[in-house]
């Protein structure tokens, strides 16, 4: 435990306790609409933290994290729909699938020394062709069935571009074991995962692994000269990030009950996922959470206000995201969190 709170000034501990305490009681304080926004916020806080491990800690820019969200979602959903596999078991499989996918992307890039922008493009490419593959899933399974002689219905049904749907159940009974229930259950699941992810990230950053990642992020050549196997530690970063992102996908599938390749694997999703950490503070522990809490409510708020004013502008959310990013890049290049931490002396004392 001590490593989690070491060096944190008292006021940060209090702030942290108040923050999570408020989130714990929030469902009793807000209406269903606000709760639904909070679920989305926590979703992005969690996913942003997963992405932050790769980019913020180890300096490897992934612009295709929707790949892992989508694969996680589809794996657990397909197993549930087709074979009735429990979502938590499905999560284990999903983590396996995304970790292997991360390993493939990482190996191709790092083995052949594809770095920087080119690595980012590679991650987009993987997300894109996976999207196209899932769009044509029925064709692919049909072809596979034809080729192998195995009957089509033995293959998992992925739904293709028409979507994959989970049976919607009675929202009044909460079944945590099968992840079927009311938004409030999903809220607490995501809150727990966000808190766990925060603790895990803190532990990572304070470990040898965290130091090595930061060294690689800051200067690969110097890192190697200090005995760091750069390839190995970059692989660990990608695989761990992918593994954690799988949960975001599983959550998405069981919360929304429908999956469309066009949506879940889309470039937009990848970008939305990384805006939180960037605006909150890249590589910081609290940045991704702060970013999610700033962005999603504001974006929804703007849409609300405009609707209330009788104006409906399609794409206003995207424009808003763009403006936010621009403002942060220009005025707070390190994100919001470092400034807040400094202003209110919330940062860790070494």
């Amino acid at each position: 435990m001590s490593v989690l709170f070491d060096g944190l000034p008292r006021r940060s501990l209090i702030a942290l306790a108040v923050f999570f305490g408020l989130l714990l009681v929030a469902p009793w304080l807000v209406n269903a609409y606000v709760l639904s926004i909070l679920v989305v916020v926590l979703y992005y806080a969690y996913a942003g933290q997963s992405w932050n491990i790769m980019m913020g800690f180890a300096g490897q820019l992934s612009l295709g994290h929707s790949l892992y969200v989508g694969l996680g979602a589809y794996t657990a959903a397909a197993l549930f729909v087709r074979y009735g596999v429990n979502p938590w078991l499905g999560l284990v499989v999903a983590v396996g699938v995304t970790t292997v996918m991360g390993a493939i992307v990482g190996f191709l890039a790092f083995r052949f020394r594809i770095g920087g922008v080119y690595f980012a493009i590679l991650t987009i490419a993987f997300a894109e062709f996976t999207r196209i593959g899932f769009d044509h899933a029925p064709l692919i399974t049909a072809a596979l069935a034809d080729y192998t002689g195995i009957s089509v219905d033995k293959f998992p049904a992925l739904g293709g571009s028409g979507g994959l749907f989970l049976p919607v159940t009675n929202l009044s009974s909460n079944d945590l074991l099968n992840l079927r229930g009311a938004p409030i259950m999903f809220y607490y699941v995501m809150l727990a995962m966000t808190a766990l992810a925060l603790a895990f990230c803190r532990w990572l950053l304070a470990s040898k692994l965290g130091y090595y990642w930061q060294a690689i992020r800051e200067n690969e050549e110097a890192a190697a000269a200090l005995g760091i196997n750069v390839f190995r530690y970059k692989m660990i970063a990608v695989m761990l990030s992918a593994a954690m992102t799988a949960f975001a996908g599983v959550f998405f599938a069981f919360y929304y009950n429908n999956l469309f390749p066009e949506q879940i694997f889309s470039m937009n999703r990848s970008i939305e996922l990384i805006l939180g950490p960037i605006i909150g503070g890249l590589g910081t522990l609290f940045g991704p959470i702060l970013g999610a809490f700033v962005l999603s409510p504001l974006a929804d708020g703007i849409t609300e206000v405009l609707q209330w004013a009788g104006v409906e502008i399609p794409g206003v959310k995207q424009v808003f995201y763009g403006v936010c990013l621009l403002l942060v890049v220009v005025f707070l290049p390190n994100g919001i969190w470092p400034v807040l931490a400094k202003r209110f002396k919330l940062g860790r004392e070494q």
Partner: protein, 240 residues
Amino acid sequence: MALLEVRGIGKSFRGLRALHDVSFDVPAGAIHAMIGPNGAGKTTCFNVMAGVYKPDAGSIHFDGKPIAGLRPDQICRAGIGRTFQVVKPFPGLSVLDNVMVGALNATDSVRQARIEALRVLELLHLADKARHVASSLTLPERKRIEVARAMATRPKLLLLDEVMAGLRPTEVDEMVAVFRRVNQETGTTILLIEHVMRAVMALAQHIVVLHYGEKICEGAPVDVVRDPAVLECYLGEEAV
């Protein structure tokens, strides 16, 4: 058998011969220097030894084991620490964290690494800057971070690439004292590339001179600085 045995190494870049048939030994516990005019191949020689380049020819044995062609991280773990002539600090990390990354080469415990890093920082008179971000330090200070990081990896052999450049004479003397102390207390073998002859003469027991990628002379400092070939290509008459 010497700790480091370099035998006939050669390295060319697209036909430009940077190193040709260079051989020398560094015995355990010694302090040796490598000198020569700019472009003589000194840094290339370091980079070949540190695994940045694979030599085209020749062999390098460290502690009796062949190391030519190993990756930089493998060579560091084998016991060779190096600094970069053009400093490569981890700019966004604190000075302490910079050195801790090096110290983690010798231990898995972050706490141990912190203790070791603070000790090395003390030794290099950087302790009061430990919490500063590395990018905020002056160039001579960043050179000392390079040294501290390399030393924190607990190397048997320390390769120092022009760490005295830009220092004032009193600072040079301080660094000389530090390296002497490290050499005597821990038995760390040191090979340094240096243009500051004040430091070379004070530290080195033996000097290798490179010129146009070839070794033109080696021997005790007093003999090397009188060697006509060395005077002609590098030191000039006034050095005598």
